[in-house]
């Protein structure tokens, strides 16, 4: 029979797993931005004043990114970062984190408000 037993999402195994997943979401957003602009990883490395090897390393293993890195990489591509805490009625983390693009899309659909007066 189809398994209906609810199990923990893999990101519940450790904080490092959860951090990896949300960092990975962030990197996927950057990858899309690189494609749209378009900007190469080499150019991004130049803007950040790091080697392309470092950029490649970050893209392949984003688990060690710091909040400072999030801001640096986003700003280098003309973007900003929001850190959002949310309650999705999933305290046991059976469903995993909500993809950060969901928040972005919702914000865009709401007319990209800049403050609560624009709401």
């Amino acid at each position: 029979m189809e398994t209906m037993k609810r199990q923990r999402h893999w990101t519940e195994s450790s904080t490092a797993d959860f951090v990896y997943r949300i960092s990975s979401d962030f990197i996927m957003q950057l990858e899309k931005r690189l494609e749209v602009l378009p900007v190469s990883q080499k150019e991004l490395a130049d803007r950040l004043n790091v080697t392309i090897g470092r950029v490649s390393q970050v893209f392949n293993n984003p688990g060690n990114l710091t909040l400072r890195n999030f801001v640096q990489y986003s700003r280098a591509l003309g973007m900003k970062v929001a850190v959002v805490a949310y309650d999705d009625d999933d305290p046991q983390n059976q469903n995993g984190p909500i993809n950060s693009d969901v928040f972005t899309k919702c914000w865009e659909r709401a007319g990209r408000p800049h403050d609560f007066f624009d709401e």
């Binding site: 189809e2 199990q7 797993d17 990896y20 997943r21 990975s24 996927m28 990858e31 995993g96 969901v102």
Partner: protein
């Protein structure tokens, strides 16, 4: 006597609109996607799982996975990608709907084969093998152990009352 296939869902995920599982042959290690996935090192495991989450969420992310929507022969195939020690890896499988009656938009990714990727183009042999397996009644039988509706629809379409014992 042909071997029996076994299907299992990947653990540690939430399957709301889509699901991922592994098809294995109980008499051969040829269908090795599940075994390779289970033995991934921590870093690669996280990378692949994050990519799988992305597919399960309905995202498009060519750097982590992709299908062949413009290739009619292989448009049901899907691959998840990762790199480990400069070696490119792939898990290949096919997509199906295991709930054809109750949820017509549900998609299951059945991963079957692991392969090293050394050329830019994908070897169509692996994709052909995935497509052949998708049509194999043993595959349907195995998936039906987890999704009974999949087997019921298969039997109904062929006018068969039950699986051969």
């Amino acid at each position: 006597m042909s071997s029996t296939y076994v299907f299992r869902l990947a653990d540690g995920f939430s399957f709301k609109h889509r699901a991922i599982g592994f098809l294995e042959d109980d008499e051969s290690s040829n269908m090795d996607a599940g075994a390779v996935f289970d033995q991934l090192k921590e870093k690669s495991m996280r990378y692949v799982r994050a990519g799988m989450d992305c597919w399960l969420d309905g995202q498009i992310c060519d750097s982590r996975f992709h299908g062949w929507p413009n290739d009619p022969e292989h448009d049901s195939c899907l691959t998840f990608k990762w790199k480990e020690k400069r070696q490119h890896h792939r898990l290949y499988g096919f997509l199906c709907n295991p709930k054809p009656a109750s949820n017509r938009s549900f998609r299951l990714c059945v991963l079957v084969f692991h392969a090293y990727k050394n050329d830019w183009a994908t070897d169509p042999t692996t994709l052909n093998r995935c497509c052949l397996l998708q049509q194999d009644f043993r595959t349907t039988e195995a998936i039906a152990q987890v999704y009974p509706e999949y087997g019921e629809t298969y039997l109904k379409q062929r006018g068969i009352s039950k699986w051969k014992q």
